[in-house]
Symmetry: C2
Subunit: 342 residues, 2 copies
């Protein structure tokens, strides 16, 4: 059995030589897996998140069934606004809805910050249980949403094509926006550190909507908070995934993060160039390409690894797996990485 430090994921994040790149898939736990869909029919979303046994079962499914090199906690980024005191409803196939949104100083003052991470005790219980069940087969990934992305939901109250309400909030009340971003950051740091204590071997920060920001606005409303988090998480490597924000890669490669996630709109070689080959990169297979025939998937995976190079690299999708992906296609993706020969 491997010692934890010998896992491919952790070696790749430390920049150590690996025999082949490790592989996992964003949103690998859930959605497309028939066993998950069965659980979904019996328990609503937050029951699945908040019941450690269910979260554990769902987290382990892709490890057992698809053969990924890491487990990622089954949860949601919106547990943080919940922990801070905002109600979050998650309606299946409709997306999140926050009945009360943040618009002014009073709303901000009502948020819990100090000790808010303790409200997420069920996450730590789940992590401890998963850790035990994994028995060190693969490392365990914890995660949180990035402050900008969490702000988007807190202000907008739901998903959006342009998040114009969230952006208007930032552009017209920048002081208030920064105050909110700092509160989210503080809770997120405490939350991620508690995840590490509970057993997460590494953590990923999802900035799902950072690509809505111009490069200048990313520097103002997203980057400083990502940098704070990367520097403040202790005892586990951090991967930052600023989706759509290829323009920020050079700056973020100089942060305290150990890895950067990439979506599929950036060429691997260009990402290496922007990051001066100084940080581990993760990504960036177009999730829709898992709908292609299996031989085409395998060919594209090989091309992707060739382009990134097999070292300092974690194979992954460029965004979450789609619900309509056949399991054997997901498995073909994972297998292609495992079979990789330069």
């Amino acid at each position: 059995m491997n010692t934890p430090s010998e896992h491919l994921m952790l070696k790749a994040l430390r920049g150590e030589q690996v025999s082949r790149p490790p592989v996992w898939m964003m949103r690998q736990a859930g959605r497309y897996l028939p066993d998950y869909i069965k659980l979904r029919e019996k328990y609503d979303f937050f029951t699945r998140c908040e019941t450690p046994e269910l979260a554990c079962e769902i987290t382990l499914q892709p490890v057992d069934q698809v053969g990924v090199d890491a487990a990622i906690l089954f949860s949601d980024i919106l547990v943080v606004p919940q922990a801070m005191g905002l109600e979050v409803q998650l309606i299946e196939s409709k997306g999140p809805f926050l009945p009360k949104t943040i618009a002014n100083q009073n709303d901000l003052d009502a948020l819990q910050v100090i000790g808010a991470e303790a409200n997420l005790h069920y996450v730590y219980e789940a992590l401890r249980l998963i850790k035990k069940e994994l028995n060190n087969r693969v490392p365990l990934i914890g995660f949180a949403g990035a402050p900008w992305t969490i702000l988007c939901y807190m202000v907008e109250g739901k998903g959006s094509k342009s998040f114009d309400k969230a952006k208007q909030f930032c552009f017209s009340q920048p002081q208030l926006a920064h105050s909110l971003l700092q509160k989210i950051t503080d809770v997120t740091i405490a939350y991620l550190n508690a995840q590490v204590v509970a057993g997460a071997d590494l953590v990923q920060v999802f900035d799902s909507w950072s690509g809505m920001l111009s490069p200048q606005d990313f520097k103002i409303f997203a980057q400083p908070y990502l940098e704070q988090i990367a520097a403040a998480v202790k005892g586990a490597p951090v991967i930052l995934f600023p989706k759509g924000s290829w323009y920020a890669l050079a700056d973020l490669s100089k942060s305290a993060a150990s890895g950067l996630g990439l979506d599929w709109t950036i060429e691997p070689q260009f990402a290496r160039q922007l990051t001066n080959n100084s940080i581990t990169l993760q990504g960036n297979f177009d999730p829709c390409k898992l709908l292609a025939p299996i031989p085409e998937i395998k060919k594209s995976v090989k091309e992707m690894i060739d382009a990134f190079g097999p070292q300092r690299y974690i194979a992954n999708l460029g965004h979450g797996i789609l619900p309509n992906i056949p399991v054997d296609h997901a498995k073909a993706f994972v297998d292609a990485v495992k079979e990789y020969q330069a």
Copy 2:
């Protein structure tokens, strides 16, 4: 009165020296203008498009009321699938819906290609009327959707977050996809040339969903068709707007296009660098930033022009204007360009 060739827009597209950059706004005709909203209450979308007097009135509104340097035809990119024989429904605030989509060779064979542009006679009538009413105050922009974007709607049947059905079609049946893309391209070229004959002084091709494609897939499914169109439109300059596809700017700067549109996620200086300063660039103000206070808008416009430089540049938004923009904010954007001093 100006002769047509003296218009700032056309000079900028030819790379000639201008006294200040020209300015217009994507989707400037409609949406946020109170006089448009009144017409919308009386006539449905296709009545507004297909009645030359209404299309003319709507096209002229932003010229008269906001002071833009160009008029853009009020119409929709989905008139092309309509002209090819597919029903398109446009439900206000719900987006487009195509009851019959393209899935196989039979569907493709049923599409009209030769002469399909003649079905859009009402567009040419509108252009002739607008041209007369404009009386050469500002140039008139015609437009069409890019083949990839039109394929997205033809295959998917509606808007989508990931256009996975359209991408699956391309990835699993590439020959069929290319056949469809070529048919759309042929109709689009005939359509744009007919727009020029009817009075369009320049045309823009909107590839609204090109940013969904990886750089490699853009090269396969989008770029060749954009290049064909840019080369085949005669008698008027062409602006290509591949939204989200910053990675294609270098290649497209070598096409026959006269201008490239940019969204707000690319820094002006980097766009200049990628295009080797060899082509006119258009954009790229974050449409959400029009929700900022007016002094902030004016400051950001000045910074944008400074960054692009005032020559070989057309000031615009990075995407269509949002429906919730106050008219005086839109006007502040236009005024800030007109007041620009280096």
